[in-house]
Amino acid sequence: EAGVTQFPSHSVIEKGQTVTLRCDPISGHDNLYWYRRVMGKEIKFLLHFVKESKQDESGMPNNRFLAERTGGTYSTLKVQPAELEDSGVYFCASSRTGGTEAFFGQGTRLTVV
């Protein structure tokens, strides 16, 4: 089966601009997660979707970040406006309902200059 796909793989934007990251989970996976690792830090949970609903968004850093999953398929994570400290690698993962493992994408490396 196809894995979790993230687009773009790299993005370089200027401070104050907007960037939208996309994640296509494995087909049939109702659970979709966003994580990120900023420079030198650990991978941190951002939020969890069950289908199109936000189950847990306790890790979202602030209101400049907006995640959506319309239709319960792919998800987007928008950063508006981007700040320098948003630079890092953003990972998406998905899992089946009742599944025991999360499948991760390769990540999107975001650089804000």
Binding site: D30, D56, F104
Partner: protein
């Protein structure tokens, strides 16, 4: 979620068995212990998961004592391609999914 503590780095040689121990003193009843492997420029990849006692699959074994406050990932006969970061995680099962807290990970270097 329970915080995990594991060694920052470990060195090994090809063909050796590698054991990486992780502590999770505050693990809760419905938490599962999971290990992931990550190579540079890739996302974490699931290796093994367990609740208690011993679990074995085609790539690793996981030993969890009765108190569940620690766990040990065992990699038999490592090769150069096993050089990676290994994360010990605690997953709390929730409504259909789970929330994963990553620690710092253990950077394993396998030498020829």
């Amino acid at each position: 979620l329970a915080k995990t503590t594991q060694p920052i780095s470990m060195d090994s040689y090809e063909g050796q068995e590698v054991n990486i121990t992780c502590s999770h003193n505050n693990i809760a009843t419905n938490d599962y212990i999971t290990w992931y492997q990550q190579f540079p420029s890739q996302g974490p990849r699931f290796i093994i998961q367990g609740y208690k006692t011993k679990v074995t699959n085609e790539v690793a074994s996981l030993f969890i004592p009765a108190d569940r406050k620690s766990s040990t990932l065992s990699l038999p006969r490592v090769s150069l391609s096993d050089t990676a970061v290994y994360y010990c995680l605690v997953d709390r099962r929730g409504t259909g999914g789970f929330k994963t807290i990553f620690g710092a990970g253990t950077r394993l270097f396998v030498k020829a």
